[in-house]
């Protein structure tokens, strides 16, 4: 998807983001433009006031005007400049202080909402993660880009229009000045876009790799092991190598842009020189006064300065951002996982018919042609070696992934056709990669069922059931030292994860390998509790501990994504096969030694 996608052109992007921007903050967008217009006019006004002052001074030096005339003109200019500065302050404040944060907040919300509907399987896809990363950067780029556009039209546009009118009244030929300033700017921007979009595309994977090597040395996750292995030099080499590659890539792009800028500036200067020459001849011919010359000449600097500002700063930053914006827009365009609504009826149970699933970028399917029926109130244990596809099967059976082949019917609802919000009603789970939310204890539990608003008591009882040792910890305590809260042990966190799974109102619950950090006595307690809690519900237990599989009504043995055996614990033990082998392997350690 990453390689095939086409990038919209500059103008296509603009026509898409402007309406988005107006939707995000309509009133502020209008106000921003009004301020910009006034701001633009104030600039031209100061030019006129300057000319007035200079004319008066010329006369004064020829003793044709006195001190009070000069004072009057000077106060006029000061007043105009004062007003201009005031407007400048208000305009910029409104833009950077109000419009920008307001709308980038709205854009972020848009992204969050979109991610909610995107196929979760995408998060296993590196290309998607890459794009997501860039799209997140695009959030700020959109309002920035729109503000620059507003600036170009309402501020610079008005400024150039009014200054143009002024120049025209002085001498029509001077209008050429504006044209001479515009042309190189437009030429440059088209090339600029290409260079930076390409740089972004090319350097993103490299940058990710480079940043990763730093992590492998420095992150908490890796620190101690990298040190004890003495692997610093190994990663440092990779780190500096990728750094060299990355910087030389960026340098090439920067150099290209700078050379372009140089050519552009020379063109601009040619334009300025021509304008100055026009002014000069007009002065020499007596068509305009020397005062006008000086005022317009000073303004000429400003005109070209502003043009330079648009090109090298604004358009430049817009160009750098356009790639990110494209990513943001592409993300918004991705298909939503929608579907019709429905109410699951778990008396029908959960069924899978010939389902297969292959992760993006993988050749072998993780789950292959699985047919399975989970009846009402039944507990099924899924056992199998690592990589047998247990977690993937769970994701398919809960509707988190939609099967590429076959159908999964949860409580009578086809997971491929029903909207996620309807589908997950009544399903809960404790995952292998359970989360440690940097939130309060209560939030950590209640996050699993935010719509229920079941309240504190419910959360507390879920914690009790999960065997969480509360001690002096209060429900409103923050569970993160980063936000001034407390630190919990791995075992405590695991119990919170279990409480979280229990808290969510459910008729179908999944327990994916929940015991890795709990000691044997605890483990048994929790499994027994789970058995009790799963009573009358559909339940899936993914486990390595075959002992716990004994508690299930049926056991499914998975190998290389396929079901190789299925039956009750006793049935499976009684016949030779994978399960019996696994059982024997594990149980031997606990058999009494016959002396």
């Amino acid at each position: 998807m990453n390689t095939e996608k086409k990038n919209d052109t500059f103008f296509q992007v603009i026509t898409r983001i402007i309406p988005m921007q107006f939707q995000a903050a309509p009133f502020n967008c209008i106000l921003e433009n009004i301020l910009a217009v006034m701001h633009g006019l104030s600039f031209s006004l100061t030019v006129v006031a300057t000319q007035h002052l200079f004319d008066t001074i010329s006369k004064a030096s020829a003793s044709q005007a006195d001190f009070s005339d000069c004072m009057f003109s000077l106060f006029l200019l000061t007043g105009a400049t004062f007003g201009q500065q005031l407007l400048n302050g208000i305009h910029n404040f409104h833009g950077t202080g109000i419009l920008f944060p307001k709308s980038s907040g709205k854009m972020t919300v848009l992204l969050h909402k979109k991610l909610k509907n995107i196929d979760p399987a995408q998060f296993e896809n590196t290309d998607f993660l890459d794009d997501l990363n860039k799209a997140r950067e695009g959030i700020q780029a959109i309002p920035l880009c729109c503000m620059i556009l507003f600036l170009c039209v309402s501020f610079y546009g008005v400024y150039f229009l009014s200054i143009g009118t002024y120049l025209f009244t002085l001498k029509p030929m001077l209008l050429i000045t504006l044209l001479l300033a515009f042309i190189p700017a437009i030429m440059a921007q088209t090339i600029n876009i290409r260079v930076f979009t390409r740089l972004e595309e090319q350097s993103a994977p490299l940058r990710r790799e480079h940043e990763y090597y730093q992590k492998a040395i420095c992150d908490r996750e890796y620190f101690k092991e990298t040190r004890i292995l003495g692997a610093f030099s190994f990663f440092n080499q990779l780190f500096t190598d990728t750094l060299e590659l990355l910087t030389s890539k960026i340098w090439r792009a920067e150099r290209k842009i700078a050379l372009l800028q140089l050519v552009l500036n020379i063109t601009t200067f040619a334009g300025m020189g021509t304008s100055a020459y026009l002014l000069f001849t007009a002065t020499m011919n007596g068509e305009i006064t020397v005062g006008m010359f000086a005022a317009v000449f000073a303004a000429l600097g400003q005109i070209f300065d502003i043009m330079n500002e648009i090109v090298s700063k604004h358009i430049g930053s817009m160009n750098r951002d356009i790639g990110k914006i494209n990513n943001f827009l592409h993300l918004l365009e991705m298909p939503d996982r929608t579907g019709s609504s429905g109410i699951p009826d778990f008396t029908i149970g959960v069924a899978a018919y010939g389902i297969s699933y292959t992760y993006p970028g993988r050749e072998n399917p993780a789950v292959k042609d699985v047919t399975l029926n989970l009846a009402e109130g039944e507990t099924i244990a899924i056992v199998g070696e690592n990589g047998a596809g247990k977690s993937t099967l769970v994701r398919l059976l809960t509707g988190i992934y939609r099967p590429l082949e076959g159908r999964v019917i949860i409580g009578g609802l086809d997971t491929a056709k029903i909207a996620p919000s309807s589908l997950y009603k009544g399903i809960s789970g404790v995952f292998q990669k359970y989360q440690r939310y940097k939130m309060t204890l209560e939030e950590n539990v209640a996050i699993s069922d935010s719509l229920a608003k079941a309240g504190l008591d419910q959360a507390e009882s879920a914690l009790r059931e999960a065997g969480f040792e509360k001690g002096s910890i209060r429900m409103e305590d923050m569970l993160s030292p980063e936000f001034g809260g407390i630190d919990l042990s791995g075992g405590q966190w695991q119990r919170i994860a279990i409480a979280r799974g229990l808290y969510r109102v459910n008729d179908f619950i999944v327990l994916d390998e929940p015991t890795s950090a709990i000691d044997p006595i605890e483990e048994i307690r929790i499994y027994k509790q789970f058995q009790r809690l799963a009573e009358g519900k559909c339940a899936l237990v993914v486990t390595h501990r075959l002992g716990s599989a004994k508690l299930a009504d049926r056991v499914v043995v998975l190998e290389a994504g396929e079901i190789v055996d299925m039956g009750t614990h006793d049935e499976l033990l009684s016949r030779p096969g994978k399960y019996a082998d696994m059982w024997a392997a594990q149980a031997q350690w606990y058999e009494r030694e016959e002396k």
């Binding site: 000069c70 004062f82 500065q85 302050g89 910029n92 404040f93 950077t96 202080g97 969050h112 909610k116 979760p120 590196t126 993660l129 790799e209 492998a216 040395i217 420095c218 890796y222 990298t226 040190r227 004890i228 292995l229 692997a231 030099s233 190994f234 780190f239 750094l243 920067e254 800028q261 140089l262 500036n265 020379i266 300025m272 100055a276 020459y277 000069f280 020397v290 010359f293 000086a294 000073a298 690592n386 988190i400 997950y424 292998q432 939310y437 996050i447 699993s448 935010s450 936000f483 042990s489 791995g490 950090a517 000691d519 006595i521 048994i524 390595h544 501990r545 392997a585 350690w589 606990y590």
Partner: protein, 593 residues
């Protein structure tokens, strides 16, 4: 690479940039100075010359040809100001890249050498993250701010010098009024900056909630629990609250910026006013008046913003340099970056003598009088409940925390007296939270022994990775994880085997396995136990586990409770003793009856 010192002030940002890229830095400064002189003083001068000459020609005082020199000068000034910008841009991006190339490796090197306790301590961890987040940008902002300030000073000075040459007393009046104003600006700028930092703290939580909504790790829970809307609502509230706080800060900042701009307008008025008199008396020509007034009023627009931004960024880089100083002076572990010795020492015995230890910043004694002795060539197992201190023992052994009380003796000599490289070569540890390196599978295994290549295949085979290797697109050469192109992810159990293969590849005489089997399936677990004795023949092994099945293999089991050994003996002895070990074992066996 740049040497990082231990005493930095705000101004040292310039020195760092100069060290990273001396030629470009000098060029940048020279170009910037030229640009500001050209834009103000020089431009005023040539404008004055041109206007006066033109007026004289129009009055018929001077010949028409006299205009060409001033015109050419005018155009040259214009040309230089226009073109110089692109060069400055190029030079400063070069400085930025050089800084990235030379400074970041130094930061990483310091980082990697820090005492391990800083990594586990949250306060120092925050400082470390702050410093390492984006050093180049933080420093470059400061560098640019200093150059900007220099440009402002040069601009002002060049105009002032022009005025002095004509009417010296006007310059004195201007200086008299503007000096206090600048002093006020500097003070106000600092205040604004401090207020801004307050608001930044607020945004961290918003950022975290954003991660919850967009991150990869919690996609399962996010999908199934459907909390996106709820958290998004919370995110919005947080964001709005932070935004409003920030709004106040921004408002204050603008008030300050524009306040100083408006003051500048008044100063310009003052300048122009003092110059009217000399024009009327003929002491100054109209051309000079126009040149100076154009330059002065032209500066207002830029100065207000640039001045306050520079001041803010100078304060910011000052804070950053303080952090950098603190970071560089954090205690480092000697020889921490060395590779393990090529030939491990001969191991005879390991003894803990009354070792007490608490984690820095914590009150609780994790080890409280821990004493035991281990002999070479035997298999040991540590068992005990979570939090009993099992993993802490491995952290002390590997030298991560040298701040323990009591003695740890290797071959009768204190652990702290050995070189870091010797200790690294002595132990090979598979941690419970072992590292998953997102590099090629082969390299993952090769890291176990940096001095010997070519045994990766065998180690992978012994660790039971044959099937995994076959399933990967490029076998041992496949990059793992989602970082490199074509990378493939492994399951938790497969990763654990990779970690075990890494340990098998190591020639360390003492192998420590911290909960090695928690993610393995029964058959692999069983195979591992069986193979372990064979693989580790002649080695000393230490198992840390609460899966008691594995401990049966051990020659001696050490049961830990509240930071000390509460029981020790063989499996049979402990079962016969009917103590805590027997209780745990019975509980676990319950499953298999």
């Amino acid at each position: 690479m740049i040497e990082i010192n231990k005493n930095y002030r705000s101004f040292d940002a310039l020195k760092l940039a100069l060290a990273a890229s001396p030629v470009c830095m000098v060029t940048d400064i020279l170009l910037s100075v030229t640009q500001s002189i050209m834009q103000t003083g020089a431009l005023a001068l040539v404008t004055a010359d041109f206007v006066d000459t033109a007026s004289a020609i129009l009055k018929g005082v001077r010949p028409r040809n006299d205009i060409y020199l001033p015109l050419v000068l005018l155009l040259v000034t214009l040309g230089v100001t226009t073109i110089i910008g692109a060069l400055i841009q190029l030079v400063s991006s070069r400085i930025r890249l050089n800084l990235k190339r030379r400074l970041i490796p130094s930061v990483v090197k310091i980082y990697a050498a820090l005492d391990y306790r800083h990594i586990e301590n949250n306060t120092s961890w925050e400082l470390i993250s702050r410093v390492s987040r984006d050093p180049v940008n933080s420093i470059m902002e400061g560098v640019e701010a200093y150059i900007q300030s220099l440009k402002i000073i040069i601009s002002l000075a060049s105009v002032l010098i022009l005025i002095v040459t004509r009417v010296w007393w006007a310059a004195i009046i201007i200086l008299f009024f503007s000096a206090p104003m600048f002093w006020l600006s500097v003070r106000a700028g600092r205040k604004v900056y401090q207020a801004g930092r307050e608001a930044e703290k607020f945004n961290r939580r918003t950022e975290y909630l954003g991660e919850v909504l967009t991150g990869r790790d919690n996609v399962d829970e996010r999908t199934l629990f459907g909390y996106s809307d709820e958290i998004n609502g919370k995110w919005q509230n947080q964001y709005e609250a932070g935004r409003k706080l920030q709004l106040k800060v921004t408002a204050r900042m603008f008030l300050f910026i524009k306040g100083s701009s408006l003051l500048l307008v008044l100063i310009s008025l003052l300048v122009a006013l003092t110059l009217i008199g000399p024009v009327l008396t003929g002491q100054m020509t109209a051309g000079w008046f126009m040149g100076i007034v154009s330059a002065v009023f032209g500066m207002i627009q830029k100065l207000g913003f640039q001045m306050s931004r520079s001041l803010e960024n100078i304060s910011r880089v000052g804070e950053y340099m303080k952090d950098l100083t603190a970071f560089a002076s954090m205690s480092q572990t000697k020889d921490s970056l060395t590779e393990p010795d090529a030939e491990p020492m001969v191991f005879k015995s390991l003894e803990f003598r009354n070792v007490c230890f608490r984690y820095p910043g914590s009150e609780r004694l994790v080890l409280d009088g821990m004493s035991f002795k281990m002999e070479a060539g035997r298999h040991y197992a540590f068992v005990g409940k979570n939090g009993a201190g099992k993993t802490t023992i491995t952290k002390l052994l590997t030298g991560l925390f040298p701040q323990y009380q009591g003695e740890i003796l290797i071959n009768g000599k204190e652990l702290r007296e050995y070189s870091a490289s010797a200790v690294k070569a002595l132990f090979s540890v598979v941690y419970q939270d072992f590292a998953r390196y997102y590099i090629r599978l082969k390299d993952n295994i090769a890291l176990g022994d940096l001095h010997r290549k070519g045994n990766e295949m065998e180690a992978a085979h012994l660790a039971g990775l044959d099937e995994t290797v076959n399933s990967l697109n490029h076998g041992l050469d496949t990059p793992l994880g989602k970082i490199m192109a074509g990378g493939q992810d492994l399951s938790g159990g497969q990763w654990q085997r990779v970690a075990i293969a890494r340990s098998l590849n190591s020639r360390a005489p003492v192998k420590i396995l911290d909960e090695p089997t928690s993610a393995l399936d029964p058959i692999s677990e069983s195979l591992l136990y069986r193979d372990f004795e064979r693989l580790m023949l002649g080695k000393t092994t230490v198992f840390v586990s609460h899966r008691l099945g594995s401990t049966k293999l051990a020659d001696e089991i050490l049961v830990i409770g509240s930071g000390r050994i509460i029981e020790r003996g063989t499996h049979d002895e402990l079962m016969a003793a009917n103590g805590p070990y027997a209780e745990m074992f019975e509980a676990q066996r319950g499953w298999y009856l």
